[in-house]
Symmetry: none
Subunit: 365 residues, 2 copies
């Protein structure tokens, strides 16, 4: 095992837990390196001591700021250059699978967020009844009313070869017919090696049948607290230690065959079973519904960008981790900016309005 580095920002920043060797090591001073080595050795064995070491390290703000900058730089590295040589679609054709009788806002939020981050086209695959409503929210979306049809899987398969990433779950609901169709769509997506972000009731489906995405290394799950607990119970028999959310995120990822897991919360925890990134970019305390859709839609684009850029652009780190950290950071910044304007009355629509300036502020040099 090579040297690993713990990168910390004292407040309002992002952290890298023990992880991939080449990531953000260079700036570490001698003292920090010693503690980091100790930390790495102990991390998986004894979480409380690990936590103590982390707190001690949080004093190293000079290094921490540098390491945060490194993470931001990795995200900047994956963002494709805007050049006049490009054709429509090259910066992202993203599919959203969701939208049912009750839920129509969520797939819209995910789809429009993907566009605002920089995708060229978004396709929403939803139940027939939901389609006219989702279409009515925005002429920017291409909406396919197929998800409750008997040949839903074939209908979506027609489009899969053109899609760079799929976001499964926003506004999906729990109707058996829809869930069964989504099961087939996920199988097809894996067979074509297309990256997939799974959120909301897509995670409910995964909790019923974890084998569906086990070890699929282009899958990213984005559970909130409740969804995370449900997945934990479905996959691991031992009780979850809610005092060690980082350790739990790491373990759940491992139990799912090292797929990437993003546990959303006061700070977002991102793991691929080998390392844990912490995103605690300043957001706000407003928790209106729909913020998770902004995250999943953004992540759909950014995971495509990160995989296309490849590990040489992410300094050897997992492109999926970098994409997830970027999308979490962006979502929290949108929340912060909207909250500054609208306070307690902030809604997800207000946050989506901020995507352009937030992205620019964070990731444009």
């Amino acid at each position: 095992m090579g040297v690993r580095c713990v990168a910390i920002r004292a407040c309002g920043g992002g952290k890298i837990d023990p992880g991939v060797p080449r990531m953000a090591v260079h700036a570490c001073g001698a003292a920090a390196a010693v503690v980091a080595l100790l930390s790495a050795a102990i991390a998986l064995q004894w979480s409380p001591l690990y936590a103590v070491l982390q707190r001690a390290l949080s004093l190293h703000t000079a290094h921490a700021t540098k390491d945060m900058e490194n993470l931001f730089q990795l995200v900047r590295n994956i963002v494709p250059a805007l050049t006049s040589k490009k054709h429509k679609g090259q910066d992202g054709r993203i599919g959203i699978v969701g939208g049912c009788q009750e839920y129509t806002g969520a797939p819209y939020f995910a789809g429009i967020s993907a566009l605002k981050v920089g995708a060229d086209l978004t396709h929403v695959f939803c139940a027939r009844e939901a389609a006219p409503v989702i279409k009515s929210y925005s002429p920017e979306l291409i909406v396919h009313p197929v998800l409750d049809s008997s040949n839903a899987v074939e209908e979506v398969e027609k489009w899969l070869p053109r899609l760079h990433a799929l976001v499964v779950g926003p506004g999906l609901g729990r109707d058996d017919l829809l869930l069964n169709n989504v099961r087939g769509i996920l199988e097809s997506t894996k067979a074509r090696d297309i990256p997939v972000v799974i959120d909301a009731d897509g995670l409910w489906l995964v909790a019923q049948q974890p084998a569906l995405i086990h070890s699929y290394h282009k899958a990213i799950l984005t559970p909130n607290h409740v969804e995370f607990s449900r997945l934990w119970e479905a996959v691991l028999s031992s009780p979850m230690d809610s005092n060690d959310l980082k350790g739990s995120t790491l373990k759940l990822s491992q139990a799912l065959g090292n797929i990437t897991v993003v546990q959303k919360g006061e700070q977002d925890l991102i793991s691929n079973g080998q390392q844990v990134l912490v995103c605690n970019q300043e957001g706000s305390s407003r928790r209106c519904g729909g913020q998770g859709d902004l995250l999943s839609g953004s992540l759909g684009v950014m995971v495509h960008w990160a995989l296309r850029a490849g590990p040489e652009k992410t300094n050897g780190s997992s492109p999926l981790l970098v994409a997830a950290w970027g999308a979490c950071t962006l979502t929290r910044e949108c929340n912060r900016q909207a909250f500054q304007k609208y306070g307690r009355s902030t809604t997800t629509t207000d946050m989506i309005t901020e995507v352009g300036t937030a992205f620019s502020r964070l990731f444009t040099t």
Copy 2:
């Protein structure tokens, strides 16, 4: 009975009629205290004299301002702190029951107002035909097209355990099928001890069958003048004294088993059969349709907050009264702010745009 206080604001303020002893007593001077005692003794016996005393007291503007501040402080006490520890939903999951063939704007106004005040999620339960239209107004609402189905009560019951408060009536209409379903929903809501705000044709249903909410202490009725008269006729045999609206509000509440009644009008009168609060926050003379939906939606959130905060935060006063006074004050301030900008052309959409700044101005210290 302890010392009671009449709190008056000379113009554009709020008043507390004889009521809970601990509320806003401290600032009363000796002269005012004497008159207040007289007033309290006479209040329930002889309303005209009581009114005269009130007018006399209106000279005590210094005390009145202090008492107004106390009421504002009670509302501020119930507003939950925004903290980073919270999860989506904790600041309010509010249900709106209404929306039919003719009416689609009202449940939207109520639902979006609840979100803008600070709820995290709103669910609208409406007739099938109304659903796509209500959805199309905003992706922020979750809309269930179930209210005219044969199993409407069961469909709503599935969601009741997740809801903190229900607002019944906006855009409900008077179709027998819908009203019968709402009857069942109200029974279920009571059985689960969930607070319920009843407005518009929800009040028409109550006038047909007052037993439906009699003595349910988590019910708040919000009748306008016509709806109040209809309820009065349904519940009390004696003719209503339209020269004593405060006394009438008190009596109607008592006749309905001391449930909270908000009689909307030139000034809003709020009673639980024991005391009457008067809200005459400055609004405007614009009376466009939909303002009542802003009030009922806001009140749905605030009654949840008030009950969660409990009487220790409302200084011993009824949390429902404080919530109602807060929602009336907010609605009138939205009206004032919108009217300043748009004058005679003000609509409810303009008022809803003001919710964030109005709330902040009134209730954020």
